[in-house]
Symmetry: C2
Amino acid sequence: MIIIGEKINASLAGIKGIVLERDRTGLLELARTQAAAGADFIDVNVGTGVGSREDEICSMQWAIETIQEEVETPLCIDSADSAVLEAGLKARNGRPSLINSTKAEENNLEQVVPLARQYDTPLVGLAMDKAGIPKTVEGRLRACEQIAAACEKHGVSSETLYLDPLVIPVSTDINQGLVTLNTIADIKKQFPAAKTVMGLSNVSYGLPGRTGLNAAFLHMAIYAGLDAAITDPLDKALMGAVKMAEVLVGKDRHCRRYTRAFRK
Amino acid sequence: MIIIGEKINASLAGIKGIVLERDRTGLLELARTQAAAGADFIDVNVGTGVGSREDEICSMQWAIETIQEEVETPLCIDSADSAVLEAGLKARNGRPSLINSTKAEENNLEQVVPLARQYDTPLVGLAMDKAGIPKTVEGRLRACEQIAAACEKHGVSSETLYLDPLVIPVSTDINQGLVTLNTIADIKKQFPAAKTVMGLSNVSYGLPGRTGLNAAFLHMAIYAGLDAAITDPLDKALMGAVKMAEVLVGKDRHCRRYTRAFRK
C-alpha cells in the first residue's frame, strides 16, 4: 500500500498559518514526522482560501523548496490550479513527485494532463466531472474513461495514472460506501495498469467512532483493490489497519510486515 | 448479518465437561447469554471426542431438549454425523433450526440433504470434498456445485442453502484469505439465492492480534457478500465490526443500528 501523508494541507486549521507566515520550522516538522512514519509521498496543498493565484504559486514554491532541502520523500503536489501544479513541478526540478489532481472536465484535462507528460510525473485523476461527483458507479467510471482518454491523447501511460473513486459520507447517502468500493473494483478491471487512490475520512463524516469506521472502510477498499491511501501516516490505528488488510489479501508474504508492526 | 453463536461446542475446553456431566445450568447459561447478546441461531455441537455414536445422539437430545425448554432462539444442530443431526431435528420437533453441515462427499450428501427436505430445515454446506478443503476458488466452487446439485436432486431449495467457503489460516498459506473472500463473492454470483456463512477465527491462527485480524477479515467478507457469521456474539469487538461493516455497505438505512450500538 502506497501511503500519501495528508497533513500539509492549508485548508486545515493550524496549517493555514504555517503557510501564510512562512513558518519553516512548522512545515518541516510536518514533513519530517510523516516521512519518519513511513509516508511514500507527502502531499503539499497550500491553498489557504485567502489571497491571489500568484500568492498560491509563491506559497507552493516556498513549501516545495523548504521541504526538499531537508526531506527526501517524494512530494505530492496538490492543487486544483494547473499554474500552481506547474510551479510545484518546476521547484521539484525532476525529483520524484505526484500531480494531485485532474478531473473529467475538458479545460482542466487540457491544462493538467500535459504537465504529467512534460514533467514525466504520475497523475491523480478524480472520478468527477463538471457537474460534480456522479452518484453511481457507472457515472464515476465514465469520468475515469474521460481522464484515461485524455492521458492517451497526450501520451501519458495509464501505468502512471492514479484513479480516485472519491468518497461521499454514508451519513448523507447510505449507498455511497458501496458505490466507492465497487468503483475501485471496476477501475481495477477496466484499467488494470492504473492504480487506485483515495482519501478515507469523508466516509464517516457525521457519524460517531470515525477512526473505526475509516479503518473498516480501508479494509474493504484494500480487498476491492485500493493501491494508495491519502491519510495520516501518524495514525497508528489506520496504519495498523493497512498492515492487517495486507496480510489478509496475501500482500505480506510470510506475514512479516504485519508481525513486525504488531510487535511495535 | 445473521449471527450464529458458536460457544456451545464440546470440542472446546470447558464445554466438554458440561456435556459429559449433563450440566444443565452451565448449558443454559451459554444459551441464554448468547441469545441475550442477539444471536440469531445458537450452534449446538456435542461431539466430545470420547464415547460412542449413541452417546453423541443422547447428548444431542439432552442438549436440544434442555435449551429449548428455556430459550426460544433457533438452534443450529451441528454434527458431521447424520444420525446425530437427525436426533437433534427430532428433538426440535419442528421448531426453527439450521442443519450444520453437509459437504461435497456423496455418502454424506445422500444422508444429510434428505434430512433438510424431510424436516423442512435450512442446511449449511461446506466447500470441501472427500480430499479435504480445495486450495483454489475454483475447487471450492466445484464443491458448492456438487452440494447445490444434491439439493436440487432432493428437492431442497437453494434459498435454504448456506454455503460456507471455509477458512484456512493465512499463516500457513498467505493466499488463503483471498481464496476465501473470492469464493464468497463467486458463490453470490453463481448461487444468488443461497446464503453465505463462515466461521472467522481460523484466518488468524498462529498470528498475534487475532481479534483485530478477525474483525478486518469480517469487514472484507461482508463487502464480499457474507450473510452469516459463526462467531461469539459476546465479543463486542466483532459485533461492533459487523455494525460498522453494515453501515459501510449500505445495509443499515439511516445508520441507526450503528449509532445505537456505538452509544452502548
